[in-house]
């Protein structure tokens, strides 16, 4: 938000912004493509997310951020590797979740980033991975928790963040790049980071990033084109992305403003309410890099009919050729495992490269509800 504000200032424009729930990311990108919005902040430039946003141009990076390792009070660990065998808290279906799983650590799932932090703060778990700007802010707000935020993290967990603009407007991209250069050189960026306690992250340069499950997911669905969901995600209540709209008399970049700009401070009113119960307020710049590319949450009904119904039948009624899923005899876990891995030797493919576990779970829930009818 502050970054967006500075860029706007530098462009001589007035910032207007809209908050969108993460599951509306497709809409956010459409806002940009259809000219109702000028730029989107917080888009990861990671190669793993490449190749899919033909209409999106990325600025230079304004920040390297990612998931920071948050270590509980009195603990000695200094690296992720030190935590092998111990439970690590992660946000469900975030990149941290996947990376920790891939690396073979034990993980404890939470539905919100703040919950991961709180669990570490309350010593329920020894450590957790929290989106760095949020971790910094939470730590600043809760000095009593005495947690440590490690500046060293895994390369898989770091992202170089940029501003996304419409590819058809190279002049505007140049202007944004110039604004970012000014922001960094003037020291203004570091001021902002400091004000919110955002840690700077390091990861060993040249370390090979494991691109297993994530890479293939990206092949299966284009990441940055809002119309092509790829990188998963459960819906997080309260999760929002920033959409900035610029309007200014002096600006050569006047655009029609779509939607209703909410000129409130952070966090938005309903967000503040929702957070009241948690006892900690959420930090600014809350964009989760990967959730920027999140799909909107598709219903189990839709997913079933796009992937499964062609064999197992419309509305889960088999025509007799393939198994009728209403008669599935295994457990929920069996169902999910079968969908993920397929049935080798039959035409039932492994769906894990196309769908997330959360999506498969929604399919399972739909099939179960259809079977009950």
């Amino acid at each position: 938000m502050e970054v967006a504000s500075e860029i706007a200032k530098s462009l001589g424009a007035k910032l207007q912004y809209n908050w969108f729930a993460m599951e509306r990311m497709g809409k956010v990108f459409r806002e940009l493509y259809e000219g109702r919005c000028d730029f989107i902040v917080g888009i990861p430039t990671d190669k793993r997310l490449d190749g899919a946003g033909p209409r999106l141009a990325l600025s230079q990076s304004y920040l390297i951020s990612g998931f920071a390792i948050v270590i509980g009070k009195g603990r000695k660990e200094n690296r992720l590797e030190d935590l092998k065998g111990q439970p690590i808290g992660v946000g469900l279906h975030t990149v941290s979740d996947f990376v920790v799983f891939d690396l073979g650590y034990d993980r404890v799932l939470f539905s919100k980033q703040a919950e991961v932090f709180n669990a570490v703060a309350r010593d329920e778990i020894p450590a957790g991975l929290v989106w760095a700007p949020m971790a910094g802010w939470l730590a600043k707000q809760n000095p009593a928790a005495q947690v440590r935020i490690l500046t060293e993290t895994r390369p898989e967990l770091t992202f170089s963040l940029a501003v996304g603009v419409n590819k058809d407007d190279p002049a505007f991209l140049d202007a944004v790049n110039a604004a970012i250069s000014a922001l960094i050189q003037s020291g203004k960026r570091d001021e902002i980071l400091k004000a919110y306690g955002v840690p700077t992250l390091n990861s060993s340069v040249g370390a090979e990033i494991r691109r297993t499950v994530r890479a293939s997911r990206n092949q299966a669905g284009a990441a940055l084109d809002g119309s092509q969901p790829s990188l998963t995600r459960t819906v997080w209540r309260g999760d929002q992305a920033t959409r900035a709209t610029i309007r200014g008399a002096q600006s050569p970049f006047i655009r029609t403003v779509g939607g209703v700009g909410k000129a409130s401070g952070w966090p938005p009113a309903e967000e503040q309410e929702a957070q009241g119960a948690q006892g900690v307020s959420e930090p600014p710049m809350k964009q989760n890099a990967v959730e920027q590319s999140a799909e909107k949450s598709e219903s189990g009904f839709n997913l079933y009919h796009r992937a499964c119904g062609k064999c197992h039948g419309r509305n889960v009624i088999s025509g007799g050729i393939f198994p009728d899923l209403r008669n599935f005899e295994g457990s929920d876990a069996d169902f999910i495992a079968t969908v993920k891995k397929g049935r080798p030797g039959t035409v039932m493919p492994a769906w894990e490269k196309v769908m997330t576990e959360a999506e498969i779970e929604r399919i399972r829930a739909y099939v179960k509800s259809a079977a009950a009818e």
Binding site: G221, F301, G313, R314, I317, G319, P349
Partner: protein
């Protein structure tokens, strides 16, 4: 000692002779038998009654056999000559190809077999290897519609979108080309059209938001000669009829075999539905989809196009065969192209310029809208356009009043025989965003079953329905064979292989096959004797996609592929 040695020497010689004979004999005998399939033979196929050289028997796509040893008087004496198990449990939608006594069959997308058409003895088999994840990208099982032949080659397509050329004498691969990336939802089931030294194919994948195209390959080398997209790109006329940039994933796949008119040097390609199915996501007519495209076989250039269902909301593909037949209408000769469209109308176009001639409703319950009798333009009833919270009941269903089963035309009597589906669908609107490699539909709903089927005889000259024959289930798989003996043949989901009187629609003969028939019957002659052949094997889209409309009786039918060959036995 001496004796012993002599004996074993003899044994060894005998073994050598035997093994050599075993290894070479069938191949060499067969090699001698394969008659080269020249362009000349293909162009004149209509005049040569003995073979079935191309998908629709001739380039006109008539599925008409000039043989008449078997006729409406003696067809009751038709008996099984032999049955040959093809060893597959997949659905069999193929049209067998017959060249001088050798039959080539594409057994689903699992293997290609060449058999002696007289005895059912196998000459060679070529096994296919499909990727392990193919099930993610197919709609209807391991379906394939058959092979094509040209010179000494056999051509076929695969579900992972390859075009393969085999040596017709051995079944060995000559070349294998990747036509498109199957992981983006492209697949192929059609038999290629081979003419003028070019192997021409379209792709399937309209349910996956592919970019439909037609491509020609050199028959010898497999090099691509031309490629024409079915949906107009930006800057091309018609692109403006694809609102919301929907042309990008617009589908319009030409997924069945084209017909070809050597006289005007034109190929005719029916194109499929615009993607996604949900009409609201692609405002406009969506030109290129649901159309007949007339392409020059030398260059791929479009000569004309005609759209059957504009601004489609109901998956009314126009992929079906455009059969070429010369008619006399009100005393005037018409060089016609006839297509029985999914939308329930039989269209007649002038094949020289694409001009609309007539549309005849062959399915009485059509309720989606109307066809302008002068221009042929479709007008969908706005009340039938489903929307969130507004489901609509539409006849016919997305399978179409006439689905992918092929009609046949008797050019001598100017009759057409349309396998019809009487089934309606209740549509609901759902949201969908394009996602690579999964279906892109945007609809929900359910069939209003159980439905039934009709074989419809049409007098093309008078443009009138002549007769109707009713079946307990839809005739979605009932491709028709028409013969000069005034008999038509087709199979049903029930597994019945039927012969009707072509003039009256009266049932003359029926044979109970061991599984459903969704394949196309053919007729040919060897050594002066006429045979009728069909492959059975339950599968394909209907049992998978019909939901509640799949009758319980069909669920009791076992799978299993068999080639049935019939002849007259006095």
């Amino acid at each position: 000692m001496q004796k012993k040695t002599g004996k074993s020497f003899n044994k060894l010689t005998l073994a050598l002779v035997l093994s050599t004979a075993y290894a070479v004999m069938p191949g060499s005998a067969f090699a001698a038998d394969w008659r080269n399939v020249t362009e000349q033979r293909l162009v004149n196929a209509a005049k040569d009654p003995n073979d079935w050289l191309s998908y629709g028997r001739d380039y006109n796509g008539t599925r008409f056999s000039p043989l008449k040893e078997i006729n409406s008087k003696n067809v009751k004496n038709l008996k099984l000559e032999y049955a040959y198990s093809l060893g597959s449990l997949e659905g069999q939608q193929l049209t067998p190809i017959v060249n001088s006594g050798i039959m080539v069959l594409s057994v689903s997308n699992q293997w290609i077999e060449a058999v002696d058409a007289k005895t059912g003895e196998r000459l060679w088999r070529h096994n296919l290897k499909l990727p392990a994840d193919i099930g993610q990208f197919t709609c209807c099982g391991l379906i394939n519609k058959g092979v094509s032949i040209y010179e000494d080659r056999v051509y076929f397509t695969t579900l992972d979108a390859h075009l393969v050329a085999l040596d017709a004498k051995t079944g060995k691969v000559v070349w294998d080309k990747t036509v498109a990336d199957y992981t983006a939802g492209y697949s192929m089931t059609m038999a290629p059209l081979v003419a003028k030294g070019k192997v021409m194919v379209g792709v399937a994948g309209g349910e996956y938001g592919v970019e439909g195209f037609i491509e020609a390959y050199d028959w010898k080398t497999g090099e691509s000669v031309w490629k024409t997209y079915t949906v107009p790109k930006p800057g091309e006329p018609g692109n403006e009829t694809w609102g919301n940039d929907s042309w990008k994933y617009g589908g319009a796949a030409a997924w069945l075999t084209a017909t070809y008119d050597p006289e005007t040097n034109t190929t005719y390609w029916g194109t499929g539905n615009p993607a996604p199915w949900n009409w609201a996501m692609r405002p406009g007519d969506n030109r290129g989809a649901n159309s007949m495209l007339a392409l020059d076989p030398d260059t791929g250039k479009k000569k004309w196009d005609f759209q059957f269902t504009s601004a489609d909301a109901f998956d009314y593909d126009a992929m079906a065969e455009g059969i070429l037949v010369d008619l006399k209408r009100s005393g005037k000769p018409v060089k016609a192209l006839v297509q029985a469209n999914k939308n329930g109308y039989l269209y007649t176009l002038d094949r020289t310029d694409g001009k609309f001639q007539s549309a005849l409703k062959f399915y009485d319950k059509v309720n989606w809208g109307t066809v302008d009798p002068v221009t042929g333009r479709s007008n969908i009833d706005p009340e039938k356009r489903y929307a969130p919270g507004k489901p609509t009941l539409v006849c016919p269903t997305y399978f179409g009043a006439k689905g992918l089963a092929h009609m046949a035309v008797n050019p001598q009597s100017s009759m057409a025989f349309i396998p019809m589906n009487d089934l309606c669908y209740k549509w609901t609107a759902e949201e969908a965003s394009y996602r690579r490699g999964v279906m892109y539909l945007g609809i929900g709903g359910e069939h209003e079953g159980p439905g039934k089927g009709e074989m419809v005889g049409v007098d093309l000259a008078a443009n009138k329905i002549a007769w109707r024959w009713t079946n307990p289930t839809p005739l979605l798989g009932a491709s028709v064979l028409s013969t000069a003996g005034n008999v038509i043949f087709f199979g049903t989901f029930e597994g019945k292989f039927n012969a009707l009187d072509a003039a009256t629609g009266k049932e003359l003969w029926s044979f109970p096959a061991s599984s459903s028939i969704i394949g196309a019957p053919v007729s040919y002659a060897v050594d002066g004797k006429q045979y009728v052949a069909v492959v059975s094997g339950l599968g394909g889209s209907f049992p998978l996609w019909a939901g509640k409309a799949v009758p319980d009786s069909l669920k009791k039918i076992n799978r299993g592929a068999t080639l049935w060959v019939f002849s007259l036995q006095n």
